[in-house]
Structures are given as structure tokens and as C-alpha cells.
């Protein structure tokens, strides 16, 4: 079975089912509905999954996340060394993708927290909200407005502009 989600990052809220206070001997409709769901959906799906797992159990394969070596940055390249420019550009693109995924994960955590807490998310989710806002501000200050043809050079020029503005102010 694929792994369930990380219970620390996405905590499950405590259940609020009221205590059983049955006054009749008839079965409650909630129990009927849950049993119906179990036998019509849950059980067949689990059996199908177990059947396929038993077929595949002999020859499971694995995949890994690739680790890339760090190469000299665009600022450390000699002028006219286009090979160095290419390697720096590829590294910048990988870092750009990683940063996009980081912001996406933080956003997902913030949305999960908001969904969990409901109307009281301003108080209870403040940490996730703060993380997400900081990450988004940083991402936009570094990569925002670079456009579809973003490149390491354009990002470097944007950083230069940022530093010039910071110096002026």
C-alpha cells in the first residue's frame, strides 16, 4: 500500500463523535451507512490492491532521488567561458525547480491547516501562515517577474538591481 501521509506534519484533529446514548435497539443509520460503505467500496478495493501486491511482490523495483554535485556559480565563471555558463545555468534551473517545490509544499501545509482549523485558522495556523508568507516573499523577491524565459543571468541582474536599491535606501 502507498504510505499514508506524515502524521506530524498534517496532524489529525481529535474526533468529536458523541458518546453512544442508544435508547432503541434498532441499529443507527450511521452504522448502517458505514457498513454499507465498507462492504461496497472499502473491501473490494483492499482485496484488489492485495491481489495486485501479491502478483508484484516477487520483483519490486526501486527508484531514487538524484543528487547533483554543486558546480561553480555564474559569478565564479570567467568571462567567455560558455561551458561554465552552461553548467551554472543548469544548476540555477535545478535550484529554481527545487524552490518552486518548496513553496508548493509550504502552501499545501498552510491550506491543510486552514481546512483543519476552519474559522479559527488565524490563531491556530499562525506558524504555517508565517512560514508560507516568508517563503513567498523571498521567492518573489528572487524569482518574481523574471518571466517564462528566466535564466541565471537575468536572476543575477535582478539581484544586482535589488542590491542597488538597498544601497540607495
Amino acid at each position: 500500500m502507498p504510505d499514508d501521509f506524515d502524521k506530524d506534519v498534517y496532524p489529525v484533529p481529535p474526533r468529536r463523535t458523541p458518546a453512544d446514548n442508544k435508547q432503541t435497539s434498532l441499529p443507527s443509520p450511521a452504522v448502517i451507512a458505514s457498513k454499507l460503505f465498507y462492504y461496497s467500496v472499502d473491501l473490494p478495493v483492499t482485496k484488489f490492491r492485495e491481489c495486485i501486491d501479491s502478483i508484484q511482490s516477487g520483483h519490486k523495483s526501486v527508484y531514487y532521488h538524484q543528487r547533483f554535485r554543486r558546480v561553480p556559480d555564474l559569478t565564479e565563471c570567467e568571462e567567455g567561458d560558455y561551458v561554465c555558463y552552461y553548467e551554472a545555468e543548469m544548476q540555477w534551473r535545478r535550484d529554481y525547480k527545487v524552490d518552486q517545490e518548496i513553496v508548493r509544499i509550504l502552501q499545501e501545509r498552510m491550506r491543510a491547516c486552514t481546512q483543519r482549523e476552519g474559522d479559527s485558522y488565524h490563531q491556530n495556523c499562525s506558524k504555517e501562515l508565517q512560514n508560507y508568507n516568508d517563503a513567498t516573499k523571498a521567492f518573489l523577491s528572487r524569482y518574481g517577474d523574471l518571466g517564462a524565459y528566466a535564466s541565471g543571468r537575468k536572476c543575477l541582474m535582478k539581484q544586482k538591481e535589488r542590491m542597488m536599491d538597498a544601497q540607495k535606501a
Partner: protein, 185 residues
């Protein structure tokens, strides 16, 4: 005889009164019987056969049939093949890279068909990277050579001490000095 003429005049009178009523035509006034009420079909059997005029749907049905046929001709084997691979081979699971082990380049993909294509059809991403860097280096060297060539031309034209920009002259040994009173400079 007389009665016939009276009847005829009565028919003509009735026809003149209400000429549009179907029973009042001259032809059947004399010979009409009491008309039966319309025989309404109470039990609706097959219905009256109508010749409905509509445009031909032959070309439309033929097109849709051929469309379904050609799509399913390869669609069904492809879907069956992919289902077979997903059931019997299955997707890979994520794992940490073990110590001291360098995974092959196709072991970074999840689906078995992607792994197959990466292993057997495509070059490894490292090789593609190196190919790109080789192309860039060749172009860089070409550019550098061209700039150097221009600089060398400039220098040799300016200084005149190189092999280029020399004008060929006649061999010194071939000059006949005998008719000359002063030597050529």
C-alpha cells in the same frame, strides 16, 4: 320525375347555402348516405406509416463508425498492454540511495515503461549534458579562433613583419644588372 327535379333543386339550394362543407357537394348530395363518424384508431397499433423526409445520415454514421474503428484498432492493444504492465510489473517505490552505490541513470524514474525507454532508447542524461557541453566548447573555440584571426590580420597588416600581407616580388637572382650604371635600391 318531378320528385327528381325537386331533389335536384334542393341539392343545388343546399350547395349554395354552405358550399364548403364536404358533404354538400352536388355530386354526393344526391347519393350521400348518413356519414359515419370518423373511424378513430382506439388501440394504437403500428401507427400510420409516414414517409419522413430528412437528410441522409449515411455519411455521418459511416464517419463515426470509421472513427471508432481506427481509434480502437490501436487503442485497445495499447490500453491492454499498459494495464498488463501496471498489474504485472508495477511502479517502483522510492528508496534512499544506499551507501557507496551509484544508481544507474534509469533507476531515477518510477514507471516501468519510462525506465525501459530511458534504459534502451534514450542516452543517459549525463551523456546528453556532456554532448551539449562539447558542442558549446566547439562553438566557443570557433568564436575564439575567428577573433584571433581578425586580430592577427590587424597586427600583420600594421607591422608588416608576418607572412601575411606581403606582396610577391621577382627573385633577386633573376635581375640583370649589366645594363645598369647604378645598382637598384
Amino acid at each position: 320525375m318531378v320528385g327528381m327535379s325537386v331533389l335536384r333543386s334542393a341539392a343545388a339550394f343546399a350547395a349554395r347555402l354552405s358550399p364548403l362543407k364536404s358533404g354538400n357537394k352536388v355530386s354526393n348530395l344526391l347519393t350521400r348516405t348518413i356519414p359515419k363518424t370518423e373511424q378513430v384508431l382506439v388501440r394504437w397499433g403500428h401507427g400510420k406509416q409516414l414517409f419522413v423526409i430528412k437528410s441522409s445520415s449515411y455519411y455521418d454514421t459511416r464517419f463515426l463508425h470509421l472513427l471508432k474503428y481506427y481509434i480502437l484498432l490501436t487503442g485497445i492493444p495499447v490500453a491492454a498492454g499498459i494495464t498488463f504492465i501496471n498489474v504485472f510489473f508495477g511502479e517502483a517505490e522510492l528508496a534512499e540511495i544506499p551507501e557507496g552505490y551509484e544508481p544507474e541513470y534509469w533507476e531515477y524514474y518510477r514507471h516501468p515503461i519510462t525506465r525501459f525507454i530511458s534504459r534502451n532508447i534514450y542516452d543517459s542524461p549525463v551523456k546528453d549534458y556532456e554532448k551539449m557541453m562539447a558542442a558549446i566548447q566547439i562553438e566557443q573555440e570557433k568564436g575564439e579562433h575567428r577573433l584571433a584571426h581578425l586580430e592577427v590580420r590587424r597586427q600583420m597588416r600594421q607591422r608588416g613583419d608576418g607572412p601575411w600581407f606581403q606582396k610577391g616580388t621577382v627573385d633577386k637572382g633573376l635581375i640583370d644588372h649589366s645594363p645598369k650604371s647604378t645598382p637598384d635600391t
